[in-house]
């Protein structure tokens, strides 16, 4: 690999390599060194959550050998998807440095709406779902208006929303308090049994690797043509192969049981889409900028109000979507939907996954990783037949540790000039 670089070295220095004061990682060893460098200076990325996940899985597996069985992991993925989608919305709102405390209530209200409109009123199911999502969007725009027009802190407006929307949920459910969704309907099947055919799961895992390679290769080619430094073909291939192999192994293990739930597929699809939106579009750039320095973003000509509005709406719509998924998972819309720990689990998932509470720093993948951590704790404790009292305490402790790691890493980044 190094030989390749030496041969291809152009006579003129590359456009971005002309300053001799900067160390540039070259080759495979360099990549590892720069990774260690980054970690040391507090740019942790998703490292803490992966380490945490390994610890949690080791502990639970040693306490109960069923924990890492294919069957339990498939159940885990089913359970992840509902709150995970809500956590994805939380990532959006945390990116701009605001918070939404009412996602639980919004999800509960959305599930109640689907129940009432579809089962009680006889609307077509797609229309009921669409209506619930639209109401989510309306709630988000209301928060945005309160924030933009009246300067109401999102902490307070969404706290008010938490109560008000919970009230709405109880109101439309009426005295019965619970609506069962018909078993055997596509919506309930989607939430409870539908899994990808094994071949499709394998194919999707392979496609992920191929797409990674192709986009990486294209970028490298364009950069080389433009006289910028580029990744070598070898490291691109290595990365793509690594991703494919890991994904195929996961798929293979889960296919020993039922396979990958479609609902989880939907969740991952949303995560990948959100990741693209946040990192590769102008909108995502605006979100990062507004979260990092609101005034700088405004002076750069970014429509800051619109950016906040989009974040609030995105959060509420995803919360509503999560609520609908929860209804299909439980086959019911009840007064309990969206109450209890849904709210805090969603926020905790985003933070545990590495999205900063201080704004301007985060990734869509943190929703995925964070919710797997939280759901693993819940699932492990259920298998051990421990009460929910312990589950709350442990989840709380994990959340506290995640926030401490976030603050410490932030401090370290500042002192290493990487804030």
């Amino acid at each position: 690999m190094t030989k390749d670089i030496e041969n291809g070295a152009p006579a003129v220095p590359l456009l971005d390599r002309s300053d001799e004061r900067v160390k540039h990682a070259a080759g495979f060893g360099g990549a590892i060194r720069s990774f260690l460098d980054r970690v040391q200076s507090g740019d942790l990325g998703s490292l803490p959550v992966i380490v945490g996940l390994v610890i949690i899985w080791t502990v639970f597996q040693s306490l109960n050998p069923i924990f890492l069985s294919s069957n339990n992991l498939v159940n885990l993925l089913f359970d992840c998807s509902t709150v995970g989608v809500i956590a994805l919305g939380i990532v959006c709102i945390l990116m701009v440095g605001e918070i939404d405390l009412s996602v639980g209530s919004v999800s509960g209200f959305a599930s109640a709406m689907v129940g009432v409109l579809w089962v009680n009123q006889g609307w077509p199911v797609w229309l009921a779902i669409l209506a619930a999502l639209a109401v989510g969007a309306a709630i988000g725009s209301l928060y945005a208006m309160l924030f933009n027009r009246f300067g109401m802190p999102s902490f307070v407006s969404t706290l008010a929303g938490l109560l008000a929307i919970l009230g709405l949920q109880l109101y439309i459910l009426g005295s019965t308090g619970s609506i069962n969704l018909p078993y055997g309907s596509p919506v309930v099947n989607f939430g409870q049994t539908l899994v990808m055919p094994h071949a499709i799961a394998y194919a999707l895992a392979a496609i992920a690797g191929i797409v990674t390679f192709i986009t990486g290769f294209r970028t490298a080619a364009r950069r080389k043509e433009a006289g910028l430094s580029s990744q070598s073909l070898g490291s691109l291939l290595l990365r793509a192969i690594l991703i494919t192999v890991v994904l195929e192994l996961i798929v293979f293990y889960l296919n020993q049981d039922r396979g990958i739930p479609w609902m989880f597929g939907l969740f991952v699809g949303l995560v990948v889409t959100m990741n693209y939106l946040l990192t590769r579009t102008k909108w995502g750039r605006s979100m990062n900028a507004v979260g990092g320095n609101r005034e700088a973003a405004r002076r750069a000509g970014i429509n800051v109000r619109l950016t906040y509005t989009s974040a609030f709406v995105m959060c509420s719509v995803l919360a509503a979507a999560g609520g609908i998924l929860a209804a299909s998972r439980l086959a019911s819309a009840s007064q309990q939907a969206g109450t209890g720990d849904v709210n805090l689990n969603a926020i905790a998932a985003a933070v545990i996954g590495g999205t900063s509470l201080f704004g301007g720093r985060g990734s869509a993948y943190s929703a995925l990783l964070g919710i797997i951590v939280i759901q693993s704790i819940a699932s492990g404790l259920t298998l051990l037949d421990l009460s929910s009292s312990l589950r709350y305490m442990i989840t709380g402790a994990v959340l506290a540790i995640a926030v401490i790691v976030d603050s410490l890493a932030r401090r370290s980044r500042v002192s290493h000039g990487r804030a």
């Binding site: 971005d16 300053d19 102008k282 909108w283 990062n288 900028a289 700088a296 002076r299 750069a300």
Partner: protein, 272 residues
Amino acid sequence: MTDPSDGTSTSELVLSLRGISKNFGAVSALTDIDLDVHAGEVVALVGDNGAGKSTLVKVLAGVHQPSSGTIAFRGKEVTLPDPSAALKLGIATVFQDLALCENLDVVANIFLGKELNPLRLDEVSMEIKAWTLLNELSARIPSVREPVASLSGGQRQTVAIARSLLLDPKLILLDEPTAALGVAQTAEVLDLIERVRDRGLGVVMISHNMEDVRAVADRIVVLRLGRNNGIFYPDASNQDLVSAITGASNNSVSRRAGRRQAQREQGQETQP
């Protein structure tokens, strides 16, 4: 270069302010300000702390809206309701506090709000353009892919100036462009300001440093307590400038200068 004695030169009038006032509650930060800037001209805006320089720049950048008065840009009367309106007209601003997003890298900061290909960011083209701009300024930026938080003050200034040049503006506002810079970097920024002027842009520059002002300015506009207090040319004496800035010939700066002068004369008398 334009003839310094000819304030209203034949080149195009880029910006013309008439009777601009700005009140913050009971405080009038600006009162009846008039200002003309021609193409290819560097106008230095000087004044003591609180003279209203930064407020005037913020009015021109669309950050603040004037309480009264008119702004004409290239002969047409305009309003600047927000920063993006000013940018669209061709008024670029480098603020004193630089207004960079520390969590984003250099490329993202330069292209902030003006990204190429909004739905699929063209990172490669943006990076090339960023390097081109930075090289034109003979800037020393180690890497454009590091977050701005890792750059020094001078490097941040360079990034901020490079950003202002991105859209080929007609008028550039620089608020204290050399305040945070070392000797060599100051010279580079002054070179850069001259290069920008030679490209036919109007430049408005705020500075406290009289040396820098004399070095590049074609005209020096003095503000005092939010009002116009005279227009000078680089050949004006330091004393005239200082008294216009501080508002009187009897001030701490001139008293100090007088004292030193007297001491020197005394020394010369006793020597022979």
